[in-house]
């Protein structure tokens, strides 16, 4: 009996010590970066070069990388974050709604966008099925891999690229939606994330993978041979970064945020396959002739808020209906 009690007291003491030490977290001259997982290498480089500048000297920067939605939810639940780098606007807007990020987060000259990319088709070596445009995706027998747009926020870029391309080709809204139905009938598996989708494609499933140019480039860099084609009409993917309210109170965080648009930082993003947003850091990226954005109203794309509501509402959204028709 006595031994048992002793063990219990020691355990309680141990817990108390841990709790106490965890409570004394970061103090002074430190920034918390919470980002989605893809640009990790780029941020690693950016952070080390930032720490060599005067503004960044002696600043301790903690880094957290994970899926964009997961990270947003974690920050909403109280994770310390001064700079949030997520994969699409809605994730940042969720934090605005919770009062953690100021409404004017995208007020700077770049609208808070720190890097760009485009939706591309990854194909098999030599493109044996000759996939070039969106029409090829719905040819008989073609199997397309795309992440599930409900589990992967990033996959929504794929869907809107498909829709927008149809609109740009002159199709009506109804026809473009019909295309989405057709397209998803060609999707045999919807992985939960972009990285998993690439893995499954690399393993041999499917003829075409819908993904982002930066993923394809990065994969190639890391030794996974990825041959891709950029369709003429495609969507510009814009990745946002925001200063949180707590970040606004830290001069170091503001300096770091500003640094993300410096040429060093933009080059780091470019090295990882992104398209820089600062004009004179060109890397010879070919701009697709039919490039459009999520705000291209003439193609029925009226910004993420409206698009999310119309297409990706979990129950009433167009994609929810598409998914239902695919399965039944």
């Amino acid at each position: 009996m006595k031994d048992r009690m002793r063990v219990i007291w020691i355990a309680l003491l141990g817990v108390a010590v841990l709790v106490g030490s965890a409570a004394g977290a970061s103090k002074g001259g430190s920034i918390d970066l919470v980002a989605y997982s893809t640009p990790k290498d780029a941020y690693g480089k950016i952070i080390s070069s930032f720490q060599k500048t005067q503004a960044g000297n002696g600043v301790d920067i903690s880094q957290s990388y994970g899926a964009s939605g997961d990270q947003a939810r974690a920050v909403a639940a109280g994770q310390d974050a001064d700079v949030v780098a997520l994969s699409l606007d809605p994730d940042v807007n969720m934090l605005v709604g919770r009062g953690l990020v100021p409404k004017n987060w995208n007020g700077n000259s770049h609208r808070g966008i720190v890097s760009d990319s485009v939706v591309v088709f990854v194909v098999r070596d030599g493109n044996p099925k000759k996939v070039k445009g969106w029409g090829d995706l719905v040819r008989p027998g073609i199997q397309v891999i795309t992440p599930n747009p409900f589990t992967s926020g990033g996959a929504r870029w794929n869907v809107m690229a498909a829709y927008g391309a149809q609109r740009r080709a002159g199709k009506s809204d109804r026809e473009a939606i019909a295309y989405l139905y057709k397209l998803f009938k060609h999707v045999p598996v919807q992985p939960a994330s972009a990285r998993e989708a690439l893995q499954i494609f690399a393993q041999g499933k499917g003829d075409v993978l819908l993904t982002y140019e930066n993923e394809a480039i990065y994969a190639e860099k890391k030794g996974v041979h990825t041959e891709y084609r950029t369709p003429k009409a495609t969507l510009l993917i814009e990745t946002p970064v925001a200063l949180t309210k707590s970040g606004l109170r830290k001069p170091a965080a503001k300096a770091f945020y500003k640094y993300l648009w410096s040429s060093t930082a933009q080059k780091a993003f470019a090295d990882q396959g992104y398209r820089p947003v600062v004009k004179n850091i060109s890397k010879g990226y070919h701009k697709p002739p039919g490039l459009f954005t999520i705000g291209s109203a003439k193609y029925g794309l009226n910004g993420w808020v409206k698009v999310n509501k119309r297409f990706f509402h979990p129950e009433k959204g167009i994609m929810a209906k598409v998914e239902r028709s695919v399965g039944q």
């Binding site: 355990a11 977290a25 893809t38 903690s62």
Partner: protein, 261 residues
């Protein structure tokens, strides 16, 4: 005859479901030689992740073991109202997908949650070690209980009653009669609990905040390697986890040398 058939069936099933996959993990980890594998697991980040993982286990396993044995005794040797319900609740943690475990812990300890104000007073639970320990304890809770309960039922109370009539105190009875009788059950329970505690990814990932060098356990490190296309590193780190699990079983064998049944 039937002995060989059973052996064949068991080994065949094991080969397909367990041995080949495990072999594959080891193969992929060392595919390019011992060097790259070693490098992958001795980086600063990996070593810290390993330490954190071991810390999780060092807290969660003893806690769940003590809890498990005491609860098993209570469930089997005593009667109290709601016994059946408690018995069933103990297994529930497994039925929750890790996403939901994280969600529940967010709802409880997160901003605006029931106990969310702890964080305001400096007591960080989420995105720090305590939250991760809670998540680990949650997902590895049932094993010791589940192992011990059937054995306790099986052995009956005769010896314990005999000891009592001979004047042994309850604690002496427990220590000298019951505990030795359930030692295998406790041992296997500890093995399972340890394996789960070191290998848990989902729930710990959600509540940890994934802060590199601070709240990244080895399974989280494995995931991070996968995301960065360092699949070999992911497998190598998994081998470390596998070796810890194997070491637990081997340690068990050394402490309790096997008696052939």
């Amino acid at each position: 005859m039937s002995r060989y058939l059973l052996r064949l069936g068991a080994l065949g099933y094991l080969a397909l479901i367990l041995l080949v996959p495990v072999g594959f993990v080891f193969y992929r980890a060392f595919q390019h030689g011992l060097g790259p594998a070693w490098d992958a697991v001795t980086s600063h980040q990996a070593v810290h992740a390993l330490e954190l993982t071991l810390l999780m286990a060092a807290i969660a396993v003893p806690a769940n073991t003590i809890f498990g044995v005491v609860l098993a005794l209570a469930l089997v040797r005593t009667r109290f109202p709601g016994r059946g319900l408690v018995n069933a609740i103990v297994d529930l943690p497994l039925a929750l997908s890790p996403v939901v475990v994280g969600l529940a812990l967010f709802l409880l300890y997160g901003r605006g949650g029931w106990l969310g104000s702890f964080a305001d007073h400096g007591l960080k639970i989420l995105f720090a070690v305590p939250g991760m320990v809670l998540a680990t304890m949650f997902v590895s809770l049932p094993f010791v209980v589940r192992e011990v309960v059937p054995v306790l039922r099986e052995i009956g109370t005769e010896q314990e009653q005999a000891a009592e009539t001979l004047g042994a105190s309850p604690f002496q009875t427990f220590w000298k009669i019951t505990l030795p009788a359930i030692r295998w059950a406790v041992a296997y329970g500890v093995v399972l609990t340890t394996a789960r505690a070191i290998g848990e990814f989902g729930a710990v990932s959600v509540v940890s905040g994934r802060i590199e060098g601070r709240t990244e356990t080895l399974p989280l490190y494995v995931q991070a390697q996968f995301e960065q296309f360092n699949v070999q590193g992911a497998y190598a780190a998994s081998v470390v986890l596998a070796l810890i699990a194997i070491a637990t079983v081997v340690g068990l064998r050394l402490v309790h040398p096997r008696e052939e049944a």
